[in-house]
Each structure stands twice: as structure tokens, then as C-alpha cells.
Homo-oligomer: 377 residues x 2
């Protein structure tokens, strides 16, 4: 290298140093770091989920430490690809790697089968219902429609109507909902007061399972429970009742909640439903319920809700994008205090407005539920 | 409520409490919390990016505090949807909301235009090149092909061939690469020693910009630089040289690096290329370079690389999923020590093996680059 070259190189070093060692103040550094974390979210998610999908976690659990070559023989793919895929789970201590290059379960050895039985359906749902659809989130917000469902499935409508014709959506969504419902029903019914012989309407009760569960959880009150939903759900609902031996005390009424709610009930349950709608539609529903009740009649709402202090759960990390971009093109949970205010606006006296205790929820659980009970006076 | 009902309810409370207040030990809690963070990654990513895409950040920056109704008037969408979308950025302090419900920039007021000029092309690339494609990561690992490109674009091949026919992929990928190249070239050329009058081959030099930049950064050495790439790139490369007034000292040779490397050069540059391949192909490339050099000739590799200690950067959070599921169906960076070992395996004496200083990188920057220089003796 000549002297001229040396000189040139030194000049450049200085410039480069000034360029790349620019100082970011603490606030800026914090924000830029957070933006990086956001950007990496989709990559981390699918990298980890693929380790489960490929069966790598199962192989390591069942067979003990294995090299990338041994794993590739069992699950497919090139050993070099397996090595790349396992870098992140090793870095984040889900797995570990010994000095001979063999992988084994580390953090992933801890969750129970029941824990993973909650987590994996949830991750699969985010993959199937959200990951690709989110690409069109901006268009969905602009149009108030789920653009991703149209682009990917040719479906114009909501996720709930799309599940009818698309097995992959239905299977993934149902597995997640079953897991959430299993978890939340105990809490809901423990907080639900039912008078003996009460006449209960399960509003938007789908194909009747909620009615059956109400009978099961409130067996000593022996309530009569009617499932109210679109008329096309009737056959499936009646089959559900028959299958559970509940045909006598369960029934079905077909209709649309936005047109009106059947009369003659002491208690109307609205479970997992109001969060699908914006305020206008929530008020229409609550007012229709209010109009259908006799004085003394009650509505009991179970709904995923944002915490009063947003940072207390990950609710807002999930639901807005889920409802706007993946399921409804509108809606999203409100705070329990907001739902209570809306119930009052619809004419109810609010007698209960409670949230789950976050400390009692599994650490992986995102939806925090609230219960709002309103009485018509 | 009757006594029987009360009794029933109390029994249930106990059961429910036992059910929902199950205790997770610290290790399990840590892992389940981490799994939740992973699962939320895609949701957070697109929620935040949509705030930029819709122009909400620009409106707040230009016009000051605005309500959801005012924002919706400017950017489209329903005010209720804007409210939901802004819950997360408020929670995470990118934005704030005052007592009148008006949103304004909080954390997002700090990054400079130059900062956002790095971050936003990066986020757009993750959306366009990765978000949907990742859905097929597991299949991509199994088959060693980019299944997402086939499913979404009907393309059988790599991202690099897909960009030719798909403007959206090309635009997003190029904007990100331009940003990374702008950032890294100063560092690379500051660490590159070029003898006066050196004959340089820019291997896989695409359409010649790298050759022009080599001339610019090493102007005092006045090297002759030849771009080597597929023959179909020749016309574009010659146009690049002409546009920069470099037709005299820049040239083009068409060929395939896997078939052989042109002889007659003092220095071969391999920039942003080896990370696309697994070991076998990296060795084929390096051996072909070695065969083409005279004794004393050098190869200089610039390559994104994983840090020796995986947790030192977010490299492994990004690259494996990117290469396996979104771009190549194989490949992915190695540690600098691994590239150095492979260079030795190909016959080189390794004279330089360095990594960027992480502390000098912008806080949002993911790729950490390494330089490996090998000499043929």
C-alpha cells in the first residue's frame, strides 16, 4: 500500500466513523430499538412455530439430544436448514445445544401438555387467521372490510362467514375458541346468578353448545335455555341438544339480533359477541335486548375487554389487528367501563362490571374477559 | 337467589379458583410469557406499520394533536377503527393521547428523518417479502424451495428471480437493499486495501453499481473494475457504467460463478452473496475464486454474519426465516469464524476476519456484517 493510499484510507476512516458512530440519544435509541423489535415479530413467530410444525420439538422430547443431521433424517429438510432454523430457539433458550452440536429441550421442557395445548392452537390461529391477512390491514381499515379474506379466499364478508366454506379457517379458529371457551366458562358461570327455573336466552348462541353448557353449569337451577341465532343454525342446534340429552329444556329461535330479540326471557346471555362491533351496533343490540325484557329482566355480557390501564395485559397487542384486518373489518374490545357506560346508554342499570384478575390468568393468555350485568328497571 | 343456588355457586367458585389460579413455576412462567411475545409479533408489527401506511404518523407530525374523528377525515376509515388501531401505539408510547382524546407523537417524535428512512423500508420489506410468505416456512424447510413465492406469485425459484417479474417484490427489496448498502459501503471500503492500478473483479456484481462504487470509494488507487454476473445483466451494467462516466475503467464479463471465475484479477470482491448459500455452494464459489487467482491474489468477502455470541445482535431473529422461507429456501449467514474456516478449507490464507462493532450500529439495524480477506499463496 502506498503512502497516498494510507492517507486516503485514514481520511475515509474518519468520515466513516463519524457516519456510523452517530450518537442516538436515549429516547431515540429506545424508540428505534422498539421499532426493531416490532419489525422482527413476524420472523420470530414463524421461525419458532415451524420448529413445532416440523415436529422437531416432539422428536427432541421423545428421543433426547439430537444433531441437525439426525433431526433432518426424522423431520425432513436439509441439515443446514435445520441448523439455521434452530439458531433462534437456542439463542432464546427454548432449546440448548451441547458441545457436540446436539440440540435438546431447554425452556420448552417446562410447559405442561396442558400449557402447550393452549399455546399451540393460539399460535396456529395467528398463523392461519392472521399472518397473511395482516398484509392487507391498511386496506381493511380504509374500507371497513376484511380485504385479506377477499384476496386469499375470494370471500367477501367476515371470518365467521368465511369459515363455512374454508376448512382451514374453521379448524384453526374453532380449536382456538374451544381452548378459550374451556378456560373462560368456569369463571363466567361462577359469576352468573341464575334463579331456579329461569328462562334464559343465549343470544347469538350459534349451534347450541352455549345453551347446553349453561344447563350443565347451572344444573341445580334447572333453567330453560333457548339458543337465538340465524335460522340456518336451527338443525345443527337441535342436533346438539339431542346429542347432549337436552332437547327437553333447550330450544332454538331463528332470527337476527339487529331486527329484534325474542321476548319472554328472564335473562339474556351475550357471550363473545359484542366485541365484534363498533359502538353503534353494540347499542342497537343492547337496546333490542332491553326492549325485549320485562322489568326486572337482566342481560349478562361476557366479552374480551381491554384493561382500564392498557399496559396491564396484551389485549391491545392482539385484538385491534385481529378484528380490523382478519375477522370483521370493524369492532374490537372496549374497556369494561366503556361497555358498562354503553349498557347504561341502552337503558340498563348496571349491577355488575368486573374483569378477570390478570394474576389468575395463564402467563401465555392474551384475552382478558369482562362481565357486565344490566337490569331493566 | 335461593340457598341452593348460593351453595352451588360457592362450590363452583372453589373449583374454578383451583382451575384458573393454577401456579406456574418461574421457569414455566418465563417460557409461557416468551411464547406469548412470539405469538403477538405479527399482530404488533402490522398494527404499527399500518399507522405509517395510513399516513397517521405524517398527519400528527405535520398538523399536531388530532382526535380519531379528525384523523379519520384525513386518512380514511371509521373513527372507531382508528381508535382501535391507535391503542397499541399509545400503550407502547409511540403516541400519546391527551384528556380530550387527541393523539400526538410521543416516542415517534424522536427518530430523525434519516432514522425513519432506514426503519420504514426495512419494515416494508418484511411486510412485502416475508409476512405472507412465512406462512409456508415449514413447507419451505421441508422442500428447500420458497413455497410462499409459488403460492402467492406462481413463481418457482428464488426471490431474486421473482423480482424480475414482480414490481412489488423488486421495489420493496431494492429500497431495503439500497438502505443497507448505503450504510455498509463506507465501512466495507474503509477496510478494503486496494493497490494502485489493481484489477478488481466484482463477483455477482449484478448491474454494475458495485463496480462504480468501488471506483468511487477507491478513486486514488484508480482500479480497473469488472462486474461478473449472468450474461443477461450485461446491457444494464454497461448502461450503469456509461451513466456514471465509468465506461473506460469498468467492464462486464458474463458467466456463472458455479461454472468458473474469470482469471487475470488481483482482487475478487464477493459482497452480499455467500449468505445465500449452504456450505457446499459457498465452498464451490470460494474454490472457483481460488482457482482463478494467481498466487498473491486476494478475495475479499462482505457478508451479513451471525455474531459469535448469538445474543449480541438480532441477526438470528431475522435471517434464518428470511432465507429459508422468503428468498432462497436454503442458505443463511454464518459466524465470521465459520466463513474464515471455510475460506481456509478452500485453500486461502485468511488475513482479515472482522465484524462490525455492534455499538456503532444504529439501534434499529439488524444485519451485522463481517469482512473476510483471503490470500492465495
Amino acid at each position: 500500500m502506498t503512502t497516498r493510499d494510507t492517507q486516503h484510507r485514514t481520511d475515509q476512516d474518519t468520515r466513516v466513523t463519524q457516519n456510523t458512530e452517530a450518537v442516538w440519544n436515549t429516547e431515540t435509541e429506545k424508540v428505534l430499538t422498539k421499532l426493531k423489535e416490532y419489525a422482527l415479530g413476524p420472523m420470530r413467530f414463524m421461525n419458532l412455530l415451524s420448529c413445532f410444525e416440523l415436529g422437531i420439538v416432539d422428536v427432541l422430547r421423545a428421543e433426547g439430544p439430537r444433531t441437525a443431521v439426525e433431526i433432518a433424517e426424522r423431520v425432513g429438510g436439509a441439515p443446514a436448514a435445520i441448523e439455521q432454523l434452530l439458531l433462534l430457539p437456542v439463542k432464546d433458550e427454548f432449546l440448548s445445544q451441547d458441545e457436540r452440536g446436539r440440540y435438546e429441550l431447554a425452556g420448552l421442557a417446562h410447559p405442561s401438555a396442558a400449557d402447550l395445548g393452549r399455546v399451540l392452537p393460539w399460535m396456529d390461529m395467528i398463523k392461519v387467521i392472521c399472518l397473511r391477512q395482516l398484509y392487507w390491514l391498511t386496506d381493511s381499515v380504509r374500507t371497513g372490510t376484511v380485504v385479506g379474506l377477499k384476496e386469499l379466499y375470494g370471500h367477501e364478508g367476515t371470518l365467521y362467514s368465511a369459515t363455512a366454506a374454508n376448512d382451514d379457517l374453521r379448524a384453526s379458529w374453532s380449536a382456538m375458541m374451544d381452548s378459550v371457551t374451556d378456560y373462560i366458562d368456569g369463571w363466567f358461570f361462577a359469576n352468573l346468578q341464575v334463579r331456579p327455573g329461569a328462562r334464559i336466552l343465549d343470544l347469538a348462541g350459534n349451534t347450541g353448545l352455549g345453551a347446553v353448557l349453561t344447563r350443565k353449569y347451572k344444573a341445580e337451577a334447572d333453567p330453560a335455555v333457548v339458543c337465538f341465532d340465524f335460522p340456518e343454525k336451527e338443525a345443527a342446534a337441535l342436533a346438539t341438544f339431542a346429542a347432549h340429552g337436552e332437547s327437553e329444556r333447550c330450544g332454538f329461535i331463528g332470527g337476527d339480533v339487529f331486527d329484534g330479540v325474542p321476548e319472554g326471557f328472564d335473562l339474556v346471555l351475550i357471550k363473545h359477541f359484542l366485541d365484534m362491533f363498533d359502538k353503534d351496533n353494540v347499542l342497537r343490540i343492547l337496546r333490542n335486548v332491553h326492549a325485549a325484557l320485562e322489568p326486572g329482566g337482566e342481560v349478562c355480557v361476557l366479552v374480551p375487554s381491554h384493561p382500564e390501564h392498557l399496559a396491564d395485559t396484551s389485549s391491545v397487542d392482539f385484538f385491534p389487528a385481529y378484528f380490523l384486518g382478519c375477522t370483521m373489518g370493524e369492532g374490537g374490545p372496549q374497556k369494561v367501563s366503556t361497555y358498562a357506560a354503553w349498557a347504561r346508554e341502552a337503558g340498563f342499570e348496571v349491577t355488575t362490571a368486573i374483569s378477570q384478575d390478570v394474576a389468575s390468568m395463564p402467563p401465555d393468555m392474551v384475552p382478558m374477559h369482562g362481565i357486565i350485568v344490566g337490569r331493566k328497571n
